[in-house]
Symmetry: C2
Subunit: 167 residues, 2 copies
DNA sequence: TTAAGGTTGTTCTAAATTGAACCGATCCAT
DNA sequence: ATGGATCGGTTCAATTTAGAACAACCTTAA
């Protein structure tokens, strides 16, 4: 009734399914920790922080809404919501786009940059402490390779998604 | 103004910060994909699926609310909410706890087990396709080690959290 | 020019998640 | 025992998110 590959109630070799479970658990816990740290000490959520980071990394410290949505991997409506909040806080600025009247540029303001520069060291030290410091060079290389593979898998899966019954 | 270790607008060596960014992106995309697949084909969310999995893996296919909350890494109130929904769907059953009158046992029902056995192969094949198949044995070992380290880091950080100014 | 089709971003609604407040029940010192 | 702390779970309000519907705009091809 459980199909082949069953190991007394599991559907994956235990050591393998363990990796996946722990992966889920660890990622949840990491995000939770960062979120709490940001809210407690810097008054912004992780999503908002990610927006500030992406903006700071961008060309003229500005991005289009859709770009932003793609980079932080959320729905467009969520970006609208959060950008509005950030704009209310004065950390971000909305400007019309000249070349395309539909578009909006979101730009980091000076207070926004300051807030980011305040928060970043705090968060990065947390990321180091929890995540990066435990990785040696070989492992970093290996992990990078894995992440690229997973990313490519997702891209491939994206493509095949348009034709649902391609298997 | 940006502290030491600044690389033209970044606050971490580029290759290192890249790992973290991609880690965030990949985990989001993975979860998104699994969530969509579950909702489209099996009418449950990822959270609900995780609850069913944990129950199926548990002793007598039952767990206490708090246990459940800890295992799926969410707030207790979210568990109450989701268990109620699952109970309404008939996939799960709530029972009073004999030894502790405050407690509630959540148990997988027969329909619950059936639903899980329907969904699991679908999800596991997706997990394999996107995540596991790209990993060879060495990498799996390495990844397992990393996950355990991260987990331990989080535990340690938990402990030091009670004394906020322990640094 | 214009109509068709795709893109950009917002709005609206429903769902999910969190954290705080809360209530019984339990535990443990005295 | 009994009073105070703690635990297990629910309830409630506030925040966040996704998705669908929508309006405005752009592009292209006839």
């Amino acid at each position: 009734m459980m199909g082949e590959g069953s190991f007394e109630g599991r559907w994956l070799a235990p050591e393998v399914s363990g990796v996946w479970n722990q992966f889920l658990t660890v990622t949840h816990r990491l995000e939770q920790r960062i979120d709490r740290r940001l809210q407690d000490y810097h008054g912004i959520t992780h999503t908002q922080y990610e927006i500030l980071v992406r903006l700071a990394d961008a060309e003229r410290s500005a991005l289009r809404m859709s770009d932003l949505a793609e980079r932080i991997v959320t729905a467009k409506s969520a970006v609208t919501y959060q950008v509005n909040k950030l704009a209310d806080m004065g950390l971000v600025e909305r400007n019309k786009c000249d070349s395309d009247n539909r578009g909006t540029w979101v730009a980091l303001t000076e207070p926004g940059r300051e807030r980011l520069e305040q928060a970043a060291p705090c968060i990065l030290s947390l990321v180091r402490e929890l995540f990066l410091d435990s990785i040696n060079c070989d492992q970093a290389r290996e992990l990078t390779k894995l992440l690229e593979t997973w990313s490519a898998n997702l891209d491939a899966h994206d493509a095949s998604d348009r034709a649902p019954r391609s298997e």
